[in-house]
């Protein structure tokens, strides 16, 4: 009850004209940076941080600036889906998984359905996670504390397992794809030994910085996808015709419940992954995609334009971003790159994040949580209203769209880290991705490995430092143990199936 009173007060503050205005503005800015390839919520928040100093000096409180930045963060999670679906280039790293099914569905002429599903799933994910946040924040903070290195590694192993253990795909090729991703993830300075690895050139501009995930993602899905479309010319010289009408959008809205499975998994798993420091929205959305595909009755649909395949990552990235606010506020550690900037903002506004924030700064915390609800409603409305505009892009003939994708990929890569070498690397990756795809290698597992590798590897080595190299640490700890066992079962499931089929086949003969 106490929580509800605090929350309703908070929502009232969040609804004050200034705060509401900031939320709307933030959501629109976020939609835009999210939709631009290369710019994600982290860039949006970092670029506009100085603007919040002005807001703070106007209002004298840290609440309004934080509402503004949080709205950008959410808006970006919605916006990322837009270019993933309409152009096939992930608008932000958090929306990479959305391209897996969003793009194919758009090519089938159902871009409106893909966009509506993404928007509504984002809303559901964002709202469910905000409710969890409201009700259980302090309790969940202690769960985050219980997750040490072996636990996080076990969870990462589980994420890999969801991709390997999928029936349908060619398993050796999946494993090969994961390995490529893992190798690319090791490039750069190793934090555990402090030594450079696989950097080849002496120049720091190349590999000693490590290979940035977004560079690979834009290469694979921007350039690689464009080459693929040119090569296959399956879709002719024009893009699929898209009808824009109110009734079609309403129909898409009504059919949303079909995506209940992906939405539920994405909302819950995304939130959980989000509250673990070190992870964040990108792994959250990829893992949710993998799990949804695994439990789906029709996994073959995934990658061909499955509605669940769009809903899961979109629900998850919104849910995870709310989740990532939790360790930031209660433990003072960012769960994602964007919350790292928000954390810097909180310090500048004179707040001390930590276990006492909820009890000592209720005037800050509750309006902020209230604004989470409001921002989500604003975001879904703005997004739905803009869908006809996004669809209009799809009507462009491919001869115009292809150069546009190419230019956006170049700019997006440069904008992300301001390093011209990244642009070359992105183009090379795109070409490599095209050939891998010609040879029928699945690329999603490589993308997953590049995201999770840099999280999993240090956790593996930190755990082994603890145990003096004894792998039993992953089995004997109460939380890590069961997760590791499930992960291993999932990894070996295809092998067991294969053996079983062989035995059956022999009996039948």
């Amino acid at each position: 009850m106490e929580v509800l009173v605090a929350l309703s007060d908070g929502i009232l503050v969040a609804l004050e004209p200034l705060n509401l205005g900031l939320a709307v503005l933030g959501v629109i800015v976020g939609l835009f940076v999210g939709a631009m390839p290369g710019l994600g919520s982290v860039n949006g928040v970092a670029i506009l941080l100085p603007f919040t100093f002005v807001i703070q000096s106007m209002t004298g409180s840290a609440t309004s600036p934080m509402i503004f930045l949080a709205a950008i963060y959410y808006g970006a999670m919605y916006g990322g889906a837009i270019s993933s679906i309409t152009l096939g280039i992930p608008g932000a790293s958090t929306a990479v998984a959305t391209t897996f099914d969003g793009r194919p569905l758009a090519l089938k002429g159902q871009a409106d359905r893909a966009l509506v599903t993404a928007a509504v799933a984002s809303f559901v994910g964002g709202t469910i996670s905000t409710m969890l946040f409201t009700g259980f924040a302090p309790m969940l903070a202690s769960v985050a504390l219980d997750f040490g290195d072996p636990e996080i590694f076990a969870l990462m192993l589980l994420a890999f397992a969801t991709f390997v253990g999928l029936g349908g795909d060619d398993i050796p090729k999946t494993i090969f794809s994961i390995c490529i991703g893992l190798v690319l993830a090791t490039v750069g300075f190793d934090i555990v030994s402090g030594e450079p690895r696989l950097i080849f050139f002496d120049s720091v501009n190349w590999f000693s910085r490590g290979i940035q995930f977004l560079v690979l993602a834009i290469g694979v899905y921007g350039i690689g996808e464009m080459l693929w479309t040119i090569n296959s010319s399956r879709y002719g010289t024009t893009m699929t015709n898209v009808d824009v009408s109110f009734s079609r959008i309403m129909a898409a809205l009504r059919s949303f419940p079909e995506a209940w499975k992906g939405t539920t998994i994405g909302s819950l798993l995304g939130f959980f992954v989000g509250i673990l420091p070190a992870a964040g929205a990108t792994p959250g959305s990829l893992m949710s995609y993998g799990v949804t595909k695994m439990v789906s009755r029709d996994p073959k649909q995934f990658g061909q334009g499955s509605i669940d395949g769009i809903a899961a990552p979109e629900a998850a990235n919104n849910s995870a971003s709310t989740g990532a606010m939790l360790p930031m506020m209660t433990l003072g550690i960012p769960g994602s790159p964007t919350t790292a900037v928000l954390l810097a903002g909180m310090v500048i506004w004179g707040l001390q994040p930590g276990p006492l924030l909820f009890s000592e700064q209720p005037d800050f915390v509750w309006p902020l949580i209230g604004s989470f609800y409001i921002s989500n409603i604003v975001a879904v409305l703005v997004n739905l209203a803009c869908i006809p505009l996004f669809l209009w892009m799809l009507r462009m003939p491919f001869t115009i769209l292809a150069p546009l994708i190419f230019v956006l990929s170049l700019i997006g890569t440069y904008a992300a880290y301001q390093n011209p070498y990244d642009v070359w690397l992105m183009v090379l990756v795109g070409i490599a991705a095209f050939f891998l795809r010609l040879l029928d290698y699945p690329l999603a597992p490589a993308v997953l490995a590049i995201v999770l590798g840099p999280i999993a590897e240090p956790k593996l080595r930190q755990s082994l430092l603890f145990s003096d190299g004894d792998f039993s640490i992953f089995f004997t700890r109460p939380i890590a143990g069961p997760i590791t066992v499930i992960a291993l079962i999932l990894i070996f499931l295809p092998l067991l199936k294969l053996i079983r089929d062989k035995i059956r086949g022999r009996r039948a003969a």
């Binding site: 939709a35 002005v54 934090i191 450079p196 003072g332 900037v341 930190q462």
Partner: protein, 325 residues
């Protein structure tokens, strides 16, 4: 996307800052374009927070005619940032906020060919302090108890820190070699993560900066045992210094702003003046005392002399730990 393209260009420009165009030499230097403010660490860390605070002070008090634009270059323990500075095309508009990797990274990677003495000594904004922290449930309240416990537990006593050969690693090595301990050192990505590991009792102790451990200190989860400073910290009046506890060791983290090699004297003077104002601002003084930072403002030849001592000291430390020859 057409509608938004123009906005995008503006954003990209704001984010990247043009690197061309050399300003004409003027008598008294004034920046003629946005100032590239390099942070030699990732987003969200201590250096990053501080840099963004400085930016906010400059912005709020209108100290600079041109905006200061922070860019994180965290690659290779600051190597990326150092090389970026060295090869800056317009040194008069390129400044950087430093950590101690400013001293150690050039020593550990002579191949970078970075000489820190060529950087312009704009100003030292503070020296960050280090304390030894344990979880309250460890049942330890003094440094002597700590030594006793750590000794008896040998390598089961785990110290966490930020990265290998970092400030935290240096202090851990010192404790191990001077007190006959065998604490295990586990490197993590950031100071906040280290503090969280102690709070969750995943590791046994840490040598966090106060700003990183403050939240858990206020909630009572973490207890400071000893400060690696010369005098007691005003914020922790009951925590003795290591010197009081009989050790001859203190260690600080330099929080300074430096100019790119090749910066003109006029420009250096301008930035020193700018950051003197930042230093004297109420917001900075408030931050400094609330996060328990030490050190007075220092610039020019004094700061260079300070770098020289620090470089010599870090050479000795790294040699002793075997990180360099």
């Amino acid at each position: 996307m057409f509608i938004t393209k123009r906005n995008f260009c503006a954003l990209a420009a704001a984010a990247t800052i043009a690197l061309t165009s050399v300003p004409a030499a003027v008598q008294a230097f004034e920046p003629t374009k946005p100032i590239d403010f390099v942070i030699m660490a990732g987003k969200g860390g201590g250096a990053d927070k501080m840099a963004r605070l400085m930016q906010s002070i400059i912005e709020q008090e209108g100290l600079s005619a041109r905006p200061v634009v922070p860019t994180n270059k965290s690659g290779g323990s600051g190597a990326e940032a150092l090389v970026h500075m060295k090869s800056a095309s317009d040194p008069d508009h390129t400044i950087m906020v430093t950590l101690n990797s400013f001293f150690t990274t050039p020593l550990r990677q002579p191949g970078l060919d970075v000489d820190i003495m060529q950087f312009a000594p704009v100003g030292r904004m503070a020296e960050d302090t280090f304390l030894l922290w344990v979880h309250k449930d460890e049942g330890i309240t003094s440094f002597d108890q700590y030594l006793e416990q750590a000794k008896s537990r040998g390598s089961d006593w785990v110290m966490g820190g930020t990265g290998k050969n970092s400030e935290d690693n240096i202090i851990t090595d010192f404790l191990n070699s001077n007190y006959g301990l065998e604490m295990k050192y586990i490197p993590y990505k950031g100071g906040g993560e280290v503090a969280k590991q102690v709070a969750g009792r995943q590791i046994t102790s840490s040598v966090n900066n106060p700003s990183e451990a403050l939240g858990f200190f206020e909630s009572g989860d973490l207890i400071p045992l000893v400060a690696f400073t010369d005098e007691r910290l005003p914020m922790f009046p009951d925590v003795p210094t290591l010197k009081e506890a009989g050790g001859d060791f203190s260690y600080f983290m330099q929080r300074a702003v430096v100019g790119a090699p090749g910066m003109s004297d006029d420009a250096a003077a301008y930035y020193t003046d700018l950051f003197t104002k930042v230093y004297e601002s109420a917001a900075w003084q408030e931050y400094k005392s609330s996060k328990s930072l030490m050190g007075d403002f220092m610039a020019g030849s004094d700061l260079k002399a300070y770098w020289d001592t620090q470089r010599t000291r870090h050479t000795e430390i790294l040699k002793a730990s075997g990180a360099i020859n």
